[in-house]
Subunit: 383 residues, 2 copies
């Protein structure tokens, strides 16, 4: 918990909930009759509502991107390093909106919410949500907040896929699009990792075909394994080497299976076990499907340039050299497709050893590139 | 099953078992009172026993490296591409010995064997075996077969770790050492993958603390997940892209979790499920520990050159450009340490897109380099 809130934090924040009673038609063919979206805002909306930024979260992220919910919080929001007064996403200049996506488990309607039809949690009956569905729901949230056009839609990883999809789906509703550590589609290897994570959860005897809430249990083994595996793909080989090497916890081998022997084992077990207390397996499953399904070029004979033809925004694309989940080459594919459409695109390939997680971490070159771009947007607004 | 045995196969082979009644002191401090080693031989031992090659297997390998056990076999031994008449490991010229390692589940003493003390399967009571222990037991097998010095000890992946350890531990007992797609120690990332695989098995409710045999069950979920994960690390990102891309099994998304949607999911599920029928979880656990623990430089202030100082063999080291499990840089570390000891070392870095699995696959440049080296050994023998 912070002794005092740091000066460059947005400070104490309070989530708000917007209820939507208008049915939402989904990609899967089903309709969500009504739903809630939980969100936070930081900074002030200006008079002509031209300074609004939308933040889209990644797989296990949520609406709590910056600040603290209480003085008892051990940690601030997930993008505290980048959102706040004087930070790249400068809350002195921008009005920032961050939501928990549909299907989430942190307050927006998702598998843990009550299904009005049955009076029980949706569980596995919650429809599979796509990135396109998220954009639809985010548009409605923007309208609710009086935002006709976002100064920028911004996201990292799965969040970057959402910002990219915004530029295609609602080209007039954003002026800038920031796509960080993302890809225009998953590779077979990416899907393979998701599939192992899914099977770990689906085959956990405590999964009960997704109705584990009714059994007063959670598929904790499966969710733990999924998270451990995720963490391997978030860190680079180099970052793991730097962080853990082959350090032994007790300085010697113990020739057994019970205790974690190497530091990296201990780290992964902790990450996996603690995740179980704060995340829902059905939501995790949905998020992996949203990742697998995202592929805007698939309707255009795999031609990403064609898929991006409707886009009008200006783009910032960032990647990190040691990110092997979504390697720089994947970002360059996006940059190339944008250039083919003669769109304005800035591309920053950041030298960083931290792997995919780099997008969350303070890295001077990244801060510089991101800040410079955001200041340009601020200048346009004030011009 | 083969309609007929191909001409360049060693043909029908029959495994043999050697019983050892002399206790074997292990690295872990425990002793194995007696044990069996199952092995196969291909080719003929020459008059002065100078043409013997030892093949060391990788994580899920065994003694059946070449040929067929019966005309009903669907597949030949695991290194059929490289062992046989006229192949790189030419059975017209060499006497080839391939064994199942201690701790294995294919006929050598391991967790599925009966513990004479209890009359039940060893299960989790089987001691943790190290690469050094394997070399000790392989030396004894060699003596049993009348082989005082191997023309070469050869292995890929974990097998390459064994051949490397041979060169340190018994420098006078081999003239050549072939280390393929290996590393002198696991990285933190390698250990991390093993740890996820282990946790999948250890936390499977059907694991019963390793005594699942007594419960007439097997931890099939855990073993399946471990194997799925393994397969991701055996293939390169490129190989997966080439093999599966984002191909959908039914040509369209089905918005559900039950069926495998993408081809890569279907492949992994099949690999995982079929592995359960042919491998033992306790053995898999032991193999991952042998991998994690292998680190000959750890007793020499992490100086691999010092660890390799006793070596006298000549070396062939091979790596594959797309192998991200044990990347070429890991092989180059070995080459560099050998060179520091002024040992004769040939290094072949093979351009290949198949990833770690490349060491099992027919690749013209690899065949050429491997054959050339083995022919040099044959010439020495016949000189």
């Amino acid at each position: 918990m912070p002794e005092s809130i740091p000066e460059n934090s947005v400070g104490l924040v309070k989530p708000q909930t917007a209820h939507f009673a208008q049915p939402l038609a989904l990609d899967c063919g089903r309709t969500l009759a009504a739903y809630d979206l939980i969100y936070e805002t930081y900074g002030k909306l200006n008079a002509d509502s031209s300074n609004a930024l939308l933040i889209c979260h990644a797989l296990s992220g949520d609406h709590h991107a910056a600040g603290y919910h209480s003085m008892l919080d051990r940690k601030p929001g997930w993008w505290e390093n980048y959102i706040g007064p004087g930070k790249p996403i400068d809350t002195n200049q921008f009005f920032v909106v961050s939501l928990n996506n549909l299907g989430g488990c942190k307050g927006s309607t998702g598998p843990t919410s009550l299904d009005p039809k049955t009076g029980k949690a949706y569980g596995p009956d919650f429809p599979i949500i796509t990135v396109r569905d998220w954009v639809e729901s985010q548009v409605l949230l923007g309208e609710r907040l009086g935002i006709k056009q976002w100064a920028a839609v911004i996201g990292g990883s799965l969040g970057g896929m959402q910002s990219l999809q915004w530029s295609i789906q609602y080209p007039d509703k954003l002026r800038h699009c920031v796509v960080i550590a993302a890809a225009s589609k998953l590779s077979a290897q990416n899907i393979a990792f998701n599939e192992v994570a899914r099977q770990a959860m689906l085959r956990d005897p405590e999964f009960h075909e997704g109705r584990y809430y009714e059994h007063n249990t959670v598929p904790k083994r499966g969710l733990m394994l999924a998270r451990m595996l995720g963490h391997i793909t978030y860190l680079s080989d180099d970052a793991m080497r730097a962080k853990f090497g082959r350090e032994l916890r007790e300085g010697k081998l113990n020739f057994g299976f019970d205790a974690a022997e190497f530091q990296v084992e201990s780290y992964l077990r902790y990450q996996g076990e603690s995740f179980v207390d704060r995340f829902d397996a059905n939501t995790y499953l949905l998020m992996t499907k949203a990742l697998d399904y995202f592929d805007p070029a698939s309707d255009y004979e795999d031609d990403l340039a064609k898929a991006l033809a409707p886009a009008k925004a200006q783009f910032l694309v960032c990647s990190f050299t040691s990110d092997w989940r979504f390697a720089p080459a994947r970002s360059r594919e996006i940059v190339h497709a944008l250039q083919q459409n003669r769109l304005a695109v800035s591309y920053a390939e950041i030298e960083a050893h931290q792997g995919h997680d780099a997008f969350l971490i303070k890295i001077p070159h990244y801060i510089a590139a991101f800040s410079a771009y955001m200041q340009r947007i601020a200048k346009e607004i004030n011009a």
